[in-house]
């Protein structure tokens, strides 16, 4: 086999798969012409050519025409942060909880659960396609309440998914297959990856008004109008609590009206619950929007994530729940979700599911978890307050920063535009997403002053 140069033995030129594009050039060196479909639109000069050598053709990659994709707008922020050597740098990009010392946090209950699991010496056999049964059970109970009649009536189909993203993707695949043409209505703005998920799943989407920049609050009338205007039987993507990126949630009264409209239009509510416990500090309170809809007898979809509330980010643990009008429907739907999971990854990872099952399923660990949850949510509330106080002290222009206190959950939607957000990064080394979202989970009280300076400067001095 000739080394150094790619060479292939070809018994005859007729077995060459290239169309007849080799033409002898002036000095006997052939030029490759018109290679558009095979190699992209580039000419390649052959160094040498014999009847039995394919060196020319295959020195060009089949993937030559592939362009460089841009970095992910959210996850790419952390990459940029890591590359920054400035000592004042602050990462307020991705929604991952940090302690006051700005360290990642592994919950004590998680450590305890992992130790228990190690002691038990459990095996690593494949889970069923739908995931760990004990996990599926406790996760539905956590979401809907353990004594919810829906669960007793077996009307909830729960399938373990790859955290929030994976669970949303399974639901999207179900919609594409069984509700062809049905649209998903997504809030404007929403988590950046929502659109990507539905695009890749080939589910059409449109937006409903949500954020009102003039009030830095909820455009409730716009939201209701847009949901009403959508074709009947649309899926309405709702954030269960702690809306991402705005931190603005409907009030209980507003949720009732949203449910009314959805019911009127025979829409299907599709909840994304990524922050249960992280919004108010209470797991039950944060599930009340979902429970409100469920109590009305509506069929609904709920994607759950344990990335934030149990700090299990990298374990990829979540679930897709489909509340159906009958146990029979739940059985059928579950079987079809399995058919979508099998060609995606066959069956889900066991480790994170076991951790959740151990924590949520054990009364003692569950109570401990609730306490740790309150501490995490409490820290975020306190930096909100401190940031607000710092801005108030600095900014005598009359600009109202109180929206920071009204917003809920990990994020604050600062109202900064792209240029201002860029200033935050370029001048102040504060890393955030270009939509003006900052993750308060990445803020320490020690850094509140600095951040207030950066926001004040960006808001007032950059347009």
């Amino acid at each position: 086999m000739a080394s150094g140069m790619l060479s292939l033995t070809c018994p005859s030129s007729s077995s060459l798969s290239l169309p007849h594009q080799f033409k002898g050039g002036a000095a006997g060196k052939p030029k490759l012409l018109n290679q558009a479909s095979f190699f992209g639109k580039r000419f390649v000069n052959a160094k040498s050519f014999t009847r039995t050598t394919m060196a020319v053709a295959l020195n060009v990659s089949r993937f030559e025409s592939i362009t460089m994709a841009p970095p992910d707008p959210i996850l790419g922020v952390s990459e940029a942060f890591r590359a920054d050597t400035n000592e004042m740098k602050l990462n307020l990009g991705v929604g991952a909880y940090r302690t006051e010392d700005l360290q990642p946090y592994v919950l004590n209950v998680v450590k305890k659960a992992e130790k228990l699991m190690l002691e038990r010496g459990e095996n690593k056999e494949y889970l069923p396609i739908e995931g760990l049964a004990s996990f599926n059970k406790v996760t539905a109970e956590l979401l809907l309440g353990a004594d919810n009649p829906l669960i007793l009536q077996q009307r909830v189909a729960t399938v373990q998914g790859l955290s929030g993203t994976g669970s949303l993707r399974l639901a999207a695949a179900l919609i594409e297959r069984y509700f062809p043409g049905a649209k998903v209505l997504i809030s404007s703005p929403s988590w950046g990856n929502h659109k990507n998920i539905f695009n890749d799943a080939r589910v059409p989407w449109s937006e409903y008004r949500y954020y009102d920049p003039s009030t830095v609050g909820l455009d409730f009338d716009g939201m209701i109008a847009d949901i009403k205007a959508a074709p009947e039987g649309s899926f309405v993507l709702l954030h269960g609590c702690a809306h991402n990126p705005t931190g603005i949630d409907p009030t209980p009264e507003q949720w009732e009206i949203i449910a009314d409209v959805i019911q009127e239009k025979n829409h299907i509510p599709f909840f994304d619950v990524a922050y249960q416990g992280f919004a108010s500090g209470s797991l039950d309170v944060d599930a009340s929007s979902v429970r409100l809809f469920a109590a009305r007898g509506l069929e609904l979809l709920v994607a759950q994530s344990y990335s934030k509330n149990l700090g299990l980010y990298a374990e990829r643990i979540g679930a897709i729940n489909i509340v159906c009008s009958s146990a029979d429907a739940a059985t059928r739907v579950k079987s079809q979700i399995k058919r979508l999971a099998r060609p995606m990854y066959s069956n889900p990872p066991v480790h994170g599911a076991r951790i959740v099952a151990n924590v949520v399923g054990d009364p003692e660990l569950f109570n401990e978890w609730k306490e740790e949850m309150e501490v995490m949510a409490g820290r975020i509330k306190s930096v909100r307050q401190k940031l607000y106080d710092s801005l108030r002290a600095k900014d005598k222009s009359g600009k109202d920063w109180s929206f920071i206190l009204r917003q809920i959950g990990m994020f604050s939607f600062t109202g900064l535009n792209k240029a201002q957000s860029d200033n935050m990064t370029n001048k102040w080394h504060v890393y955030m997403t270009k939509d003006g979202r900052i993750s308060l989970a990445g803020l320490s009280s020690a850094k509140c002053e600095y951040l207030a300076d950066a926001i004040f400067d960006s808001y007032h001095n950059v347009s």
Partner: protein
């Protein structure tokens, strides 16, 4: 309880049948008979019939769990960097020029299935040919993965029922007839379900043919180390293709060879012509992964990386891996001997000729159904049995069942 609006929106959703492979275990679990045998899914069992967690895996896991400095932050979209590098070295060889020249992009994925799916989605979006040729037969999930990713699936001849071996001429003829540039799925070793592998000479012919037609190889490597007992030997087919400087895709799984089944650990590697192409390809792989599950799970990949990077643990692993492979080879021999002893009609030498976890018995669906009903033996209806599920204790039961099936059912 409020009744809500009457009909379900899911009224037209029918109940799907159980997955043909994973459903075997579901059926097995339901069987109340005390004497039953699960030879369905390819999961290794000890001589005592128990699942096995490798000692070296337990140790690595303990180290990780007891390391208080470890956190659970999101991995990058492409996964654990160390794991990716080590996985590439494992399949391509530590001295692989392709790696040294930075022409390989490796991304952590969810075991073999996830790696195949991500690779297929990538090809459906970025490669000019959307047909993939898969061997006949192949793992039951292959056509589903490729179809749902947007590729169109064709087959090439592979298994010859008459010889219970490779239909090599059929394979060559079918690949020769494939359109230039088409994708070809190749089982790197221990073909599933047949256990029939090309010889090195045959692999070389396949390579030449494929390169001459510009066919794009997509390797599924789920049994490296499990086929012959040697990691390097089982990677020869892949390395043969890579050393000619050409491009290929490789889906790797650690489910079997490290017993990581439920942790879902695997990797997709794409060997490109140049480092520049590899960088761009990797950036596009991220766009496939992000809307699917954002980033992969950390636990299993960390265990694998811990083992691969430590020379002592790596050596321990190779010893445990060889022990598993050897036990399977001995089960093959025992089953063959048991059938000979019973005078079971037919030539059963394919049991000891086939390689890897599975034996393609040649039993038909009716015979399989008979064995399940009368002897509570669970296997896939194509006649595939997982040798990993056999023990010296259970070989006699299986031999009796095969004997009865072959003698009474046609």
């Amino acid at each position: 309880m409020a009744s809500g609006h009457g009909d379900s929106v899911f009224a037209n959703v029918v109940r799907a049948p159980e997955d043909p492979i994973l459903g075997v275990t579901v059926a097995y679990n339901k069987d109340p008979s005390p004497k039953k045998l699960n030879l369905g899914v390819g999961a290794y069992r000890t001589e005592e019939g128990k699942p096995l967690v490798l000692n070296v895996v337990r140790r690595a896991e303990q180290m990780l769990v007891n390391d208080t400095s470890r956190v659970k932050e999101y991995l990058p979209i492409v996964g654990l960097a160390e794991f990716n590098k080590l996985s590439a070295k494992l399949i391509f060889g530590v001295d692989s020029p392709a790696i040294q020249e930075n022409r390989v992009t490796t991304v952590q994925c969810l075991s073999g299935t996830g790696s195949l799916r991500v690779g297929a989605e990538f090809l459906a979006r970025h490669y000019h040919e959307h047909t993939i040729y898969i061997p006949q037969p192949t793992w039951g999930n292959h056509p589903k993965v490729f179809t749902i990713a947007g590729l169109s699936v064709k087959t090439y001849r592979y298994y010859s029922p008459e010889t219970r071996g490779l239909d090599f001429q059929g394979l060559l003829d079918d690949l020769n007839a494939a359109p230039s540039g088409a994708i070809v799925l190749l089982h790197a070793c221990a073909h599933n379900p047949t256990g029939v592998d090309p010889t090195p000479e045959q692999w070389e012919q396949i390579r030449q043919l494929m390169r001459s037609k510009g066919l794009l190889p997509f390797f599924d490597s789920a049994y490296q180390g499990f086929a012959s007992g040697s990691l390097d030997e089982d990677a020869q087919s892949v390395r043969m293709f890579v050393s000619d400087g050409g491009e290929c895709l490789v889906a790797q799984s650690y489910a079997k060879n490290m017993g990581m089944y439920g942790e879902r650990v695997g990797a997709l590697s794409i060997v490109c012509k140049s480092a520049d192409v590899a960088v761009r390809v990797e950036s596009q792989l991220k766009l496939v992964i992000r809307p699917m599950y954002s980033n992969p799970p950390i636990h299993g990949a960390s265990i694998v990386a811990t083992i691969l990077k430590d020379s002592h643990m790596y050596d321990e692993w190779t010893v445990e891996l060889k022990a598993m492979a050897d036990r399977i080879i001995s089960m093959r021999q025992k089953l063959f001997d048991a059938l000979q002893a019973r005078g079971t009609p037919g030539d059963w030498s394919h049991i000891i000729k086939q390689i890897g976890m599975f034996t393609f018995t040649g039993l038909n669906a009716q015979q399989v159904a008979f064995m399940t009903k009368e002897y509570h033996i669970y296997m896939t209806s194509d006649g595939r049995i997982s040798m990993a599920g056999l023990s010296s204790q259970t070989v006699p039961l299986l031999a009796d069942a095969i004997h009865a099936a072959v003698s009474t059912v046609v």
